[in-house]
């Protein structure tokens, strides 16, 4: 029977939740990296035992961790090419923690500043890795979305990282600015049908697409309207919270923006609003059913400022029509006095016959629905605040 492995990043470490295909009984292991923020943890589609994790701290900086046995053991995969992977004492080296912005002459125009909250220009300064996206085909290739916003790639299993500097250097960088959570590159989507195409999203810059494997980039923001920026239809400045794609239709993208739920049917060339009857179109997560490309999920959140569910009712909203018509999914979710948030990387779906949907909250709950959202149950209730949720469907 198939099984699932849920990877949960929290403010104080990471947890791995395992279940068989019924998804009723769960085995919880962790905390891994106890006391450290784990912004994201994700497995390689090409080798499910290869996991990557972003362990980070405002005090001590960024650590990349890697597991080659499905999360049982972890190491830092660092070292420069040609050097031993460990010190004479057997310790792993620290190169994997090094994220250095590319300012070399051969890759074009070094981009040194971006816009700060107050409109002044600030130097780019690396803070942390928000999102790790393993290649669809090569377990040793993995992309990292970082704050201050940039995209890095490792092709040696996370040992060394190189910036794909065409993104920052494509021209609009000085107009990017941080959202409330920082200026983070939080979404990386790899096109399964076109190896050269990838999408990224940045708060608060917008969305970008590359058609040459990350060398050059273009903005894909036409159709977005953000009333909270000086020019609501500007090319950049939109606070995109999350983009999702179904692998069978990589040209169809769904976006949860700071306000508005959006859809594009042409790889981001044009977006249209699909918020429809949502109680609020603010939120962070958005995801797509594993087998029904027109079935999408969001968790509406009250804003500005509050960032908790409207009326204290935690409701996932599902649209089976690709947007506009939404139904509230409430069975098993708290329907009073609930004031948690669901952050942008904290929803995932499995690919079992009955699609499982998962999300984590800032209150430390991780919920699972084993029937595409009709019924929900908590897997765990009392973890630290959940930053990210990923799920692997295993044989």
């Amino acid at each position: 029977m198939s099984r699932v492995r849920v990877l949960v990043g929290t403010r104080k470490g990471a947890f791995v939740l395992n279940s068989d295909g019924k998804r009723e009984r769960w085995e919880v292991s962790g905390p891994l990296f106890a006391g450290w923020e784990t912004y994201h943890m994700k497995g390689s589609p090409a080798n499910p035992n290869r996991l990557y994790a972003s362990q980070t701290s405002g005090w001590f900086g960024q650590i990349i961790q890697r597991s080659d046995d499905g999360g049982k053991t972890w190491t830092q995969p660092g070292t420069p090419p040609g050097e031993p992977t460990t010190t004479p004492e057997g310790m792993p080296k620290g190169e994997s923690n090094k994220f250095v912005y590319d300012s070399s002459a051969e890759t074009g125009k070094p981009l040194m500043t971006h816009q700060f909250y107050d409109g002044t220009q600030r130097p780019w300064e690396f803070k942390r890795v928000w999102h790790l996206e393993p290649s669809l085909t090569d377990p040793d290739t993995v992309y990292a979305g970082v704050e201050d916003a940039a995209l890095f790639r490792s092709t040696d299993g996370g040992k060394n990282w190189k910036e794909l500097s065409g993104l920052r250097g494509h021209g609009t960088g000085p107009r990017w600015q941080p959202g409330a959570g920082g200026m983070c590159l939080h979404t990386i989507l790899l096109d399964p049908k076109n190896s050269g195409r990838m999408f990224v999203a940045i708060s608060a810059a917008g969305a970008f697409r590359s058609d040459d494997a990350g060398k050059t980039w273009r903005t894909i923001t036409k159709g977005l309207y953000s009333q909270y920026i000086p020019e609501p239809t500007a090319e950049v400045g939109h606070c995109v919270h999350r983009i999702a794609m179904h692998p069978s239709r990589p040209d169809v993208l769904f976006m949860q923006k700071h306000w508005d739920v959006m859809r594009s049917d042409n790889g981001g060339e044009l977006w249209k609003e699909i918020s429809g009857n949502l109680p609020t179109d603010f939120g962070f997560v958005i995801d797509v059913h594993a087998h029904e490309p027109e079935t999408i999920y969001v968790v509406p959140i009250k804003s500005d400022g509050e960032h908790y569910p409207p009326e204290g009712k935690l409701r996932v909203y599902r649209s089976k029509t690709g947007g506009n018509e939404w139904e509230a999914l409430t069975k098993g979710l708290p329907q009073h006095d609930c004031y948690v948030n669901v952050l942008r990387d904290a929803m995932a779906v499995d690919s079992l016959d009955k699609c499982g949907v998962y999300f984590g909250t800032t209150g430390g709950q991780v919920y699972c629905s084993a029937d595409a959202g009709d019924n929900w149950a908590p897997i765990v209730r009392d973890l630290p605040a959940v930053l990210s949720v990923e799920v692997q469907t295993l044989p």
Binding site: S57, W59, F60, G61, I63, M91, K93, N97
Partner: protein
């Protein structure tokens, strides 16, 4: 031997149960102690000072003999009691929360 006390997060990262004792060649300074520390525990590179600029991370401070050495020059000699091993160099994370 130079004694260094690390904050718990970094002890965990370096798989250490207690304090560190380091053999430091040449003048004993913040820089030479951190160089020796990172050479022995490379996973700590970037966690105490920046990979490139070598500047102390802002939420960390250095103390020894009851004095705050955080803003001393990296190549300034450390106190004799640290050099002799009588006192440790303390690397302390800024207090936050609670």
């Amino acid at each position: 031997m130079i004694r260094v006390v690390l904050p718990p997060h970094l002890r965990g990262l370096a798989h250490l149960a207690g304090d560190v004792e380091l053999d430091v060649k040449g003048p004993v300074t913040q820089r030479s102690v951190l160089d020796a520390l990172e050479a022995r525990y490379p996973m700590l590179r970037g966690t105490i000072r920046d990979h490139i600029t070598q500047q102390r991370r802002p939420f960390l401070r250095f103390f020894a003999c009851g004095e705050d050495l955080s803003h001393e020059m990296p190549d300034a000699p450390l106190p004799e009691a640290v050099v002799s091993g009588a006192e440790p160099l303390l690397i302390i994370g800024a207090i936050a929360g609670g």
